[in-house]
Amino acid sequence: MSRGGRYVRAALAGMICLTAALLPASGRCGQAAAGDVAWRVIVHPLNPVRSIARDELERIYRGKSRFWRDGSAILPLNLSGSDPLRRAFSAQAMRDSEENLATYWNREYFQGVAPPAVLQSSKAVRAYVAVTPNAIGYIDANDVDPSVAVVEVVDVR
């Protein structure tokens, strides 16, 4: 292939890049309206934690805080990426978009760090937390029942 031909291809790539740059950003997926869904953080009733700083909750869900005060491993639970509740949780508790979090976890996964386990529904998270003392999850506020304990999230900033 001629050198000129390669430059033509490179220029073509540049035009694609420029076209993409001119597209409106409104097509970016994942910016769900954060206020539409009310979530509550829950733990097992035997877990003494009843309030948690938002920063600390974020650290748990980013895999940076790994152990409860008693030394047991924290088991954070997530919903699937398409779940509106997860999008609301990510926007409000994590203050990040699903896309940025996916990039973050892709890179952590490459280092052998496991992301929070994913369950398929709010009720599944409640059922799991109800029988797992070291788990923490978030569920639809309407799904809270006495099988789990609600943790108040405090924004200390």
């Binding site: 390669r6 220029a11 540049g14 597209l23 896309e99 892709n106 280092q111």
Partner: protein, 337 residues
């Protein structure tokens, strides 16, 4: 050649049957790009594949299965895990002269034991990626925006270290401070593919970052270069900032041998999260390689239809006589399992 190909087929068949066996026992927790969790998440099998098409001045036009990589994470306890990454590098390539496979098919990229001593200290022993800069520890194709790797992220230090690494995680009010020290006293475990220049090395990295997406870091590694028979020190600084629409990153590395001239280089890259899962990027590099310098520019776009899948198309200008492979066009498909 035939012997190697038969061995390759046997390895692939073995791995495939092993994966099928594990998949049979797996519970339905598989999430694309997060690996297959087994035995109550004690074992995770994952990996990635990267297929590149290159039309570059300094090499033949080719279509290459560049990496077929597998990660195995075995969590023995809540504190202790074993991690390995093994890859088939260049198992298939098609070029104008026909098709074949690379000279070094099997490559043990990483193999280490990790111990979490509480919340703030992590120890690793084995063969690891050198904790130097941003790119080196996330270099896999599905994790980075460009198919080509910035020259300065691989040219001035060994990309892996075999020895011990200790990392301190210290949350400080508004940011996290991460300090890593590492040392090497032995040859690498697998040096058949990408032999290290260092037999003995010691280094450190400090990084401060916020969860909102700002990070700055500084790295240093001092090693004895057993190829050039001299001691060398490489210094590096890096910065990373990401927001909803833009990601900026930059690294600089300078290698200073105890005799001879210092060399170095760096890059600055901007990625725009433009919408429609499209991420246009521009990267400007500078590299000073013994006797000549280059200023390659890499531009193009990555398209991520799903979190675990990336298509890339990029043009390279000014990459002649560098590890970028010359001027031309690169495109790739990569996927995390």
């Amino acid at each position: 050649m035939n012997v190697r190909r038969h061995r390759f087929v046997r390895v692939v068949a073995f791995v495939a049957s092993l994966l099928l066996c594990f998949a049979w026992h797996a519970h339905a927790d598989y999430e694309p790009g997060r690996g297959l969790p087994l035995f109550h998440d004690r074992l995770t099998i994952g990996g990635y594949v990267a297929v590149d098409a290159a039309f570059l001045d300094d090499s033949r036009d080719e279509l290459v299965v560049d990496d077929l990589s597998a990660f195995l994470t075995l969590r023995l306890t809540d504190h202790w895990l074993l991690f390995t990454e093994a890859e088939l590098e260049d198992p298939v390539h098609i070029e104008s002269g026909g098709f074949g496979s690379g000279d070094h098919l099997f490559n043990l990229e990483r193999l280490y034991s990790q111990w979490l001593a509480g919340e703030h200290v992590r120890l690793r022993i084995g063969q690891m990626l050198t904790p130097f800069g941003i790119w080196n520890v996330i270099h896999a194709e599905p994790l980075v925006w460009t198919s080509s790797r910035p020259i300065a992220t691989a040219e001035f230090f060994d990309t892996s270290v075999t020895g011990m690494e200790a990392t301190l995680f210290a949350p400080v009010t508004a940011f996290d401070l991460i300090i890593t020290a590492f040392g090497q006293v032995t040859p690498q475990i697998d040096d058949s593919h990408d032999p290290q220049k260092a037999r003995r090395a010691v280094g450190a990295r400090a990084e401060a970052g916020t969860s909102s997406g700002v990070r700055v870091g500084a790295s240093v590694v001092h090693f004895h270069d057993h190829v050039d028979h001299r001691d060398e020190t490489t210094f590096g600084v890096d910065a990373f900032w990401t927001a909803r629409l833009v990601e900026l990153s930059s690294e600089i590395a300078i290698n200073a041998p105890d005799s001879g001239h210092a060399t170095g280089g760096g890059y600055a890259q901007i990625v725009w999260h433009a919408g429609l899962n499209l991420h246009p990027f521009v990267r400007v590099e500078y590299v000073d390689l013994r006797g000549f310098d280059r200023v390659p520019v890499v531009f193009g776009a990555a398209w991520k239809p799903y979190d675990a899948i990336v298509f890339k198309l990029e043009g390279i200008l000014g990459g002649d006589d560098t590890s970028l492979g010359g001027d031309g066009v690169l495109s790739s498909f990569s996927m995390l399992f």
